[in-house]
Symmetry: C2
Subunit: 392 residues, 2 copies
Amino acid sequence: MPSAKGRSTPSWHTWRVSKPSTGDRVAKASSSSTELLKLRGRIDAIDRQLRTLLNNRAACAEEVARLKTRLDADAPAYYRPDREAEILARLRAENEGPLPDAHIERLFREIISCCLSLEQPLTIACLGPSGTYTEAAAIKQFGHFAKMRTLSTVADVFREVESGAAHYGVVAVENSTDGMVKHTLDCFTTSSLSICAEVELPIHHALLIRRGGDPEEIVEICSHEQSLAQCRHWLDVRYPTQSRRPVSSNAEAARIAADTDGVAAIAGEAAADRYGLDTVHANIEDQPGNKTRFFVVGNQQVEPTGRDRTSIIVSTRNEPGALYKVLAPFKRHDISLSRIESRPSQTSAWDYVFFIDFEGHRNDDSVTGVLAELNKVATGVKNLGSYPRALD
Amino acid sequence: MPSAKGRSTPSWHTWRVSKPSTGDRVAKASSSSTELLKLRGRIDAIDRQLRTLLNNRAACAEEVARLKTRLDADAPAYYRPDREAEILARLRAENEGPLPDAHIERLFREIISCCLSLEQPLTIACLGPSGTYTEAAAIKQFGHFAKMRTLSTVADVFREVESGAAHYGVVAVENSTDGMVKHTLDCFTTSSLSICAEVELPIHHALLIRRGGDPEEIVEICSHEQSLAQCRHWLDVRYPTQSRRPVSSNAEAARIAADTDGVAAIAGEAAADRYGLDTVHANIEDQPGNKTRFFVVGNQQVEPTGRDRTSIIVSTRNEPGALYKVLAPFKRHDISLSRIESRPSQTSAWDYVFFIDFEGHRNDDSVTGVLAELNKVATGVKNLGSYPRALD
């Protein structure tokens, strides 16, 4: 802190007073004040109605919870991902504005989260430390009234839900940090948990430097290895001679850039705000539309919403045409695959394991047909769950 | 991950199907289903009304913003802490339930934050790193639609707001971590910023151990030095022989306890969830009602709400009876002091500086009277701001 010496001013000894208004200004102010008072009255009336409706909603939610307890005293499912997805999709589709759809969704996530917390405060297990993308995905899905419990491995997240210590887990399935997909998929082969929902987070990278720094003076660019890889082409064109330094996380890169002249970081724009950095270039990722996808896992079979996806694991013998045999039923039933991933089997019995995501719900006739056919050609078929597709 | 070997079961090959229901269960389910459908219909209707009201509220807020811009094109104050405090106090006071007052407040903070973000997304400077109590206080005051910018020192927070890079700053003023008060108060002596609001966060400590650990086997207790101090008496009685280890933060202590048998951590209950710990004892702090208090600072004079507090700095010469002279006017005007703190002056001109908080607003007659008297006996009086008192 600079010393106060020589900085104290006469105003230190007096109260600040409003500047005298000119007549014109007073007249304008006066008519505007009346309008302002009217608008505030309207907002107050709206707020009262909002509060009453929020309380009515909570009372209905309590009633639903009582009904569910009566119906299934052992394990009532207070949280219904299918129902919630339908509510949010409809609220967005019919949104009249001026609030953007994404804001409406965020507010209703909080409202639903708040009403639910009266009955059963949800505990959500996710990969730590606090502040990870996985935690952000969990908050996007469950709102701020849910309790987040961060754990150190994906396997711990599965165990936490299996043991009942957490109601649901959130795990990255297609992640910008390498190795995550593998760990998550391996957990699914041995776990009894189902996929209850998916969450997508858009990933954008920006080139950031210390505030007021000169972009011409960048000598080094640091970021997580995977982010550097995701911007490789852009960097090759714009910063071909600067050294690239992989660090433990994008947040760490932002911290370094904030402290060091000539060092730029690749990180999300949020990091620019957090660490007080200037954005030199936004959206520098080679692949636009880059997203990280997460699964919500739990002990629950989710009902159809009309916008569903199903994930399965199929194991086959190591023989010619194995993949073709697995894919043919999808073609015949005109089912669109959204992802296929092969992994070495973890048991000696199977040689290949395919992780397949496709459109549709296990209750759909076409899906039932595909699965019946797959059961004939594969050595094993495991249903990981049918769940509502993520909202944009 | 354990290998899947020997764990694959026949169910791996088949779809899970619902258990067949008994007749009784079907009848109960059927009448309950009808009730459930009715309740869901009511919730859907409420949600539609809520969305319409939220959009109406946003439209009103836009209208208010347009009026303010017309009235004061240079620096329209979209955010009004006094107005917001009044809204929230009234919503809480008249809350009909079943949502608790605190939930109503949290939801409305988000609603206000969301409406405001349409006009002017607020940027809030606060002490980092991300995840601090200060950030939690900023979110409590401004909601999740505001952008948080975490900085490394309190002086940086003041500078960020003075330079206009952030709209408001949040700084701890009475904190459980030592030294904060001092830094913050010193910043006020030289800054032109005013206090616009105060925020209080309750602080509770718990004794936590690794899940499933045995409380009888605790040999060491670790925590931030200040937290150890705040629980000293309790520890002396309950754990007199165990060693106490100060670490960099309570979160770090929780992390250590999660990894180490026989080590307990003192931290907030939230840390138990985050790090998967068991709570051995809750609320072990020697002083119940322990709170941390934060100030929101900005370039704004806040209007009275009827529940206000004023903070001033008074400097006096080093002479006998100086403190008495400062306190006498408050006594005469029957004004209740909530805090007085003396600090060595930072300039040679003054020998003592007193930081004083008291009930009332600068517009109140009694406050004007006190300040006039103080100006006669003190070498300097600086108004730090009148602001709404924090809600519980």
